[in-house]
Amino acid sequence: MTVLAETPLNVTGTRKIAFERLVRVELRKLADTRAGRWLLISVAALTALVLVIQLWVVVAQDLQVDFSDFLLAMNTPMGILLPVLGVMSVTSEWSQRTAMVTFALEPSRLRVVAAKLVSVLVVSVGALAVGLLLGALAQLLYGVLSGNELVWGSAGTLAFNYLVSWVLGMVTGFAYGALLLNSAAGIVVYFVYSFVLPIPFAIGAQLMDWFDHLRPWIDFSFAQGPLLQGSLTGSEWAHLATSGLIWLVLPLVVGIWRINRAEVK
């Protein structure tokens, strides 16, 4: 052939986008919108508020509490809002249509999803750090105000369990977000799963023995209960794994498959 070959795109000088750069960007995207920032601020503020109220009540009523009680109290705001953040971390890309830009800059969508998942884990760890700090502060104040001896209990195990619980919550939210690719639907389904579903499960377990035995294997929220109490037995871990397969892994896999295949508009 005599025709000069076309110059190919010279890509020797450009490396793939580093994964940790993707993670850093995804972390930033969680906090740089008004909705995201407010959500993070709400988590911290509500946690602090709950602790203050608890502290006030236990001191006024002269109650005996230990560190695990403070951790349990702050599980309420964290446990509700972190999964919402998990949902929104995926769905906001679709409702705000930024997915077009994101996937144009990194066409390997699975890497983006993985980066998002890692960023969600980082937030869970951050939340735990903030929670432990606030909880410890509340505990110390409690010691000063009540004059009671401080009981820390097995704080290390508990901290680990709470982290597992929050990570599971956030990733479950993430999975529903990926599955439905719509904020409102993702949040509603998450809340149905975490607030509404346990009620018929509980009623069923009360009425039928066989269902009572089956429940821990299929009720993910129920299986997560022991996490907040202390260390788990082998069968409790098995419950967690099996029910988690149904309520977390399955939607997550389908969701990721969907993101990977979807036409981005």
Binding site: V57, I80, V84, I187, V188, G204, L207
Partner: protein, 267 residues
């Protein structure tokens, strides 16, 4: 400037009456179900009620439970009380997230008329869901009687009916009020869930720990106050609880929300 002079100057409005409220209401009702999201929501609400009834029927028949009409209706109410507020929320917030408020408010600049039309549309959907629950409950109750080979127990009564009606309407309006306040779907849903499921638990803990609080809690616990509605007639203090807590959780957010909608710059 008199309207007569205005007419001769520019546009002649003598032939155009204001948009009748009935028309606004019908349009808002249509808008609530003419999107895929809206249709799904109503469909799921109805479907979930049906599912709850079926499961309840199977369990009741299998375990030989003493079940009356009221129990069957309650099974449906359990699911719809969760989803009706979402309908209420989406009626308002979707106008803002989809930015259709721009069109809506240019066709009817009196924004409050739109809000009232939306509220009435929400109430109509509530009535529809209630009617559906009552009907399915009726069928299930008859089926139950046939399966058990006994005559159906129609214990439910008017007080139960009104309690159910008010309860479900309040559920929808609760979502509606929060959506007016936040004008944002996710925020409204999260706050609604917190208010419906978390606040009662916290109030319960507080009441258990502190005696003075246990006297105070009923005045702010809207969910507990509504639960009393199933056992009509209410006592004076029960009405008091309902009115005070309803004022806090329904009227205040709605009032602030309406003020916000009236003054908001629609983008």
């Amino acid at each position: 400037m008199s309207s007569l002079a205005a007419g001769s100057y520019g546009i002649d409005i003598s032939g155009t009456p204001a948009i009748p409220f009935g028309r606004l209401f019908r349009v808002e009702l249509r808008k609530s179900v003419n999107t895929r999201a809206g249709r799904w929501l109503v469909g799921i609400t109805v479907g979930a009620a049906l599912l709850a009834e079926t499961i309840f029927l199977i369990v009741a028949a299998a375990k030989n439970l003493d079940s009356a009409y009221g129990d069957f209706v309650a099974a449906a109410a359990f699911t719809s009380s969760f989803l009706l507020p979402i309908i209420g929320i989406m009626l308002v917030s979707s106008e803002w997230s989809q930015r259709t408020a721009m069109t809506t408010f240019t066709l009817e600049p009196h924004r409050m008329r739109i809000v009232w039309a939306k509220m009435l549309a929400g109430m109509s959907l509530t009535a529809f869901v209630i009617a559906f629950a009552l009907m399915v409950g009726l069928v299930c109750n008859l089926l139950f009687a046939v399966i058990q080979g006994q005559s159906p127990d129609w214990t439910f009564g008017w007080s139960g009916f009104f309690g159910f009606l008010i309860n479900q309407t309040f559920a929808m309006l609760g979502g509606f009020a929060l959506a007016c306040l936040f004008l944002n779907t996710p925020a409204s849903i999260v706050v609604y869930v917190v208010y419906k499921y978390v606040v009662p638990t916290l109030l319960g803990i507080g009441s258990a720990l502190m005696v003075w609080f246990s006297h105070f809690a009923p005045w702010i616990d809207f969910q507990a106050a509504q639960a009393e509605l199933y056992d009509m007639p209410l006592t004076g203090s029960q009405w008091g609880h309902l009115i005070v807590s309803g004022f806090i959780w329904l009227v205040v957010p709605l009032g602030v929300g309406l003020w916000r909608i009236r003054h908001a710059e629609v983008k």
